[in-house]
């Protein structure tokens, strides 16, 4: 399990946490951009290890969460068509549209399939020439190269029955939107490591300079997160604001050039609506004209979609880092993973779902004392072996 257990070492984690305690003389608010980071922080209880004044603000980096409701409704309409095999990553299936989710479309006879790669969907298109195969291309820069590759291969093979329902969002414009907002509370940023593995982090030094905010490229394992937080706090305490890379085993400054070339060939930058946040200029990708024939929105021309958002849901405020999930009045009451009002409660990367699933309807203090009976078991993992 290389690169897993090494970065979950409890002793090193506690040493890093102590260093953060020693460094921090003031309260700081630090944004972790990516939903995967939010998930890991809450799952591992990283926030319970930090000094009281260090507050982690959860960012908009959950691709499921920020996919506009209108696009989900279009996905439901396309997936319900008889000629369509609708392929998606697993966690889109439970995201509620205005009327139902993809699970219900499947239960009602729609051919909805979970795949692990858009290239699997291309294969399905080859094997099922009489059907229309649609892949729901949801994601940030991380998933974009595979989506781009799928349409390039489809074009090379001359496939007329493959298309991509594109929901590609770009992270740096979203970070900038948060930093320049007048209500911004964020003083330091953990940039999303896997996004940077594709794109590099050459976009961040100008952002760090312009908004006087340290930006540290950070991974997802407990030690990665603690190291990223430690570096942000060290910069903040020293009055510095630089772009740094704390995830160098995966990320280089320039990123994956081959992938970037492919992306530039297939996609072009466009304004994009973020669910709960609104339109952010130049924050998304759409297929270039040369590839537009593979755009599922163009191919199926779904009209008459009328979206209705829950008036109780404050997922936009959560995604902007303005409030914590538990501060929403509907959290854990009207809104649970069983009856989600917004996507942040559905996706396993959504901040609300992470809070709910890992017991953050309890206060951090109550939770910290909860497993008190375990002390009687002796040291973890060692006594019994």
């Amino acid at each position: 399990m290389k690169y897993l257990t090494e970065f979950r070492n409890r002793e090193i984690a506690q040493r890093l946490a102590q260093e953060i305690h020693a460094l921090a003389t003031r309260p700081w608010k630090i944004l972790e951009v990516c939903g995967g980071q939010t998930h890991s922080i809450i799952k591992n209880g990283i926030d319970q290890m930090l000094p009281e004044g260090i507050e982690m603000v959860h960012g908009p980096g959950c691709p499921v969460c920020v996919t506009p409701l209108e696009l989900i409704d279009k996905a439901l309409a396309i997936a319900a068509r008889l000629e369509v095999i609708f392929c998606s990553f697993g966690d889109m299936l439970r995201v509620p549209g205005t009327a139902g989710d993809l699970f219900q479309v499947k239960g009602g006879g729609g051919d909805v399939r979970v795949v692990y790669s858009p290239l699997d969907a291309v294969e399905l298109a080859v094997k099922n020439p009489e059907r229309q195969v649609v892949f729901f291309g949801v994601g940030f820069e991380t998933t974009a190269p595979a989506n781009a590759m799928s349409v390039r291969i489809a074009r090379q093979r001359g496939l007329k029955n493959f298309s991509l329902l594109v929901s590609q969002a770009l992270v740096p414009p979203a970070i900038e939107a948060i930093l320049k907002s007048s209500a911004n509370r964020v003083q330091g940023v953990l940039a999303a490591g896997h996004v940077c593995s594709v794109m590099g982090y050459w976009q961040y030094p100008p952002l760090a300079e312009k908004y006087k905010v340290p930006i540290v490229v950070t991974g997802f394992e407990p030690l990665d997160l603690l190291e990223g937080i430690r570096r942000v706090v060290a910069q903040l305490e020293a009055g510095r604001h630089e772009a740094e890379n704390a995830y160098s085993r995966v990320v280089s400054f320039e990123g994956n050039r081959e992938a970037q070339k492919l992306l530039a060939e297939v996609f072009e930058v466009t304004d994009r609506a973020w669910r709960g946040i609104g339109v952010i200029p130049r924050s998304g990708w759409r297929l270039r004209a040369a590839y537009r024939e593979f755009d599922a929105e163009d191919r199926f021309q779904i009209a008459g979609v009328r979206t209705v958002e829950s008036p109780l849901c404050r997922s936009g405020d959560v995604l902007r880092g303005a409030i914590k999930p538990a501060h929403c009045a509907a959290f854990g009451k009207e809104c649970t993973p069983r009856h989600p009002l917004g996507a942040t409660m559905v996706s396993s990367e959504g901040a609300c779902a992470a809070y709910f699933n890992y017991g953050r309807f309890l206060s951090a203090k109550a939770l910290a004392g909860a497993a008190s009976t375990l002390s009687g078991l002796g040291p973890s993992g060692a006594a019994d072996d």
Binding site: L4, G45, G90, R94, Y358, L367, A368, L377, S380
Partner: protein
């Protein structure tokens, strides 16, 4: 973190939020037709049982909702009391590393009887076959069943075969039902766990689910993941012989994994559970596969593991009995039942912090990234 939380702070913070949102006046209303999640071993499946099957069929034997029904045939039963259970098997693929649908069908019912405190004796086997299904495959499945039955010391004494038209089944579905004699003096059940009980797990988690999933999705790892499919009656017999009535509850964590089983026992018994995640045995290749797919091994299915709630003074002996058995070599003491935070499963993470592990809504869904 350094401050000791007030006693009962945890319990006191629960009712205000009504986090479980359970008393829904319109049960089953959110999905007007069956969705796959009803079969995922999570909350939706439980609701189907509680709101549909139980009200329709209600009787004292069913109400316990144990893995097997405990039946009293009065004077007619030689051993006094019987346990009865049934299970259907629709696994895809039919053949996977470490097993087939055939051994799964035998071991699944054997295990449901065994964790109810019974000695499994007789099984039925019913086959629903799809037109066009290769006879050679059926023969291989049946042979695997015969071997599994012999290993578990049960006999398959009755059966049925139906054939459905092509397209109306997925090759081969199997249902097995079984009866066993309840061991005299043993009264275990999911509602019998007590605060203070030690929680023992018989071995690694997630092997079966990840073996099937990696085969289904064509994922390859350096070492192949094999299903843990096995009959547990021998292992369970060894524990019961070692500590007898000190075993209060036991269950085989199949669909929904260890987390669902522990949550079910916590709810049924009204106890809280504290679990130490660092003690959970997970094979490296299973851990890697879970990471890759964004799954948590605590929710992944097992087919040859059992979890025991044992009186604390008997924990060491029970653990020794488990480890002396070939299916329990990697058994571990993973946690405790507590009077604190009733019905909640709280895990201490490897980092030393805590998280609540809830029951899943349906199946776990692989993540986007």
């Amino acid at each position: 973190m350094t401050e000791k939380p007030q006693e009962g702070a945890l319990a006191a913070s629960l009712p205000a939020l009504d986090f479980s949102n359970w008393s829904c006046p319109l049960p089953l209303a959110d999905y007007p037709s069956i969705v796959m999640a009803y079969g995922g071993g999570g909350k939706l499946g439980n609701e189907l049982i509680e709101h549909l099957f139980l009200p329709a069929f209600r009787n004292p034997s069913l109400e316990d909702l144990g893995d097997a029904a405990l039946l009293d045939l009065g004077g007619e039963a030689p051993a006094g009391r019987l346990a009865m259970s049934t299970d259907s098997f629709v696994v895809r693929p039919l053949f996977f590393p470490g097993g087939t649908i055939g051994d799964l069908a035998v071991n699944g019912t054997v295990n449901d009887l065994a964790v109810s405190g019974a000695v499994p004796r007789y099984l039925s086997a019913s086959f629903i076959l799809e037109e066009g299904f290769p006879l050679a495959q059926l023969a291989a499945i049946v042979e695997a069943m015969a071997k599994a039955a012999a290993a578990a010391r049960v006999q398959i004494v009755t059966g049925d075969t139906k054939v459905v038209e092509r397209g109306h089944g997925d090759g081969c579905y199997i249902n097995t039902a079984g009866v066993g004699a309840l061991r005299p003096g043993i009264a275990v059940g999911p509602h019998q766990a007590r605060p203070g009980d030690a929680i023992l797990l018989s071995g690694t988690i997630g092997d079966h689910g990840m073996a099937v999933m990696s085969m289904r999705e064509g994922l390859e790892f350096e070492s192949q993941i094999r299903s843990d499919c096995a009959a547990l009656n021998g292992l369970i017999g060894a524990v019961l012989e070692a500590v007898g009535t000190a075993v209060h509850a036991m269950r085989d964590p199949t669909r929904g994994g260890l987390a669902s089983t522990l949550n079910e026992i916590a709810s049924a018994s009204g106890v809280g559970i504290d679990m130490d995640e660092a003690r959970l045995p997970v094979r490296p290749e299973v851990g890697s596969a879970c990471e890759l797919l964004g799954l948590d091994p605590v929710y992944v299915a097992n087919e040859g593991k059992a979890v025991f709630f044992v009186a604390p003074e008997a924990a060491e002996r029970a653990l020794a009995a488990l480890r002396a058995h070939h299916l329990g070599r990697e058994a571990a003491h993973i946690g405790k039942a507590t009077a604190e935070h009733p019905s909640l499963l709280v895990a201490r993470t490897a980092m030393g912090a805590n998280r609540v592990i809830p029951i899943q809504i349906g199946e776990q869904l692989p993540r986007i990234c």
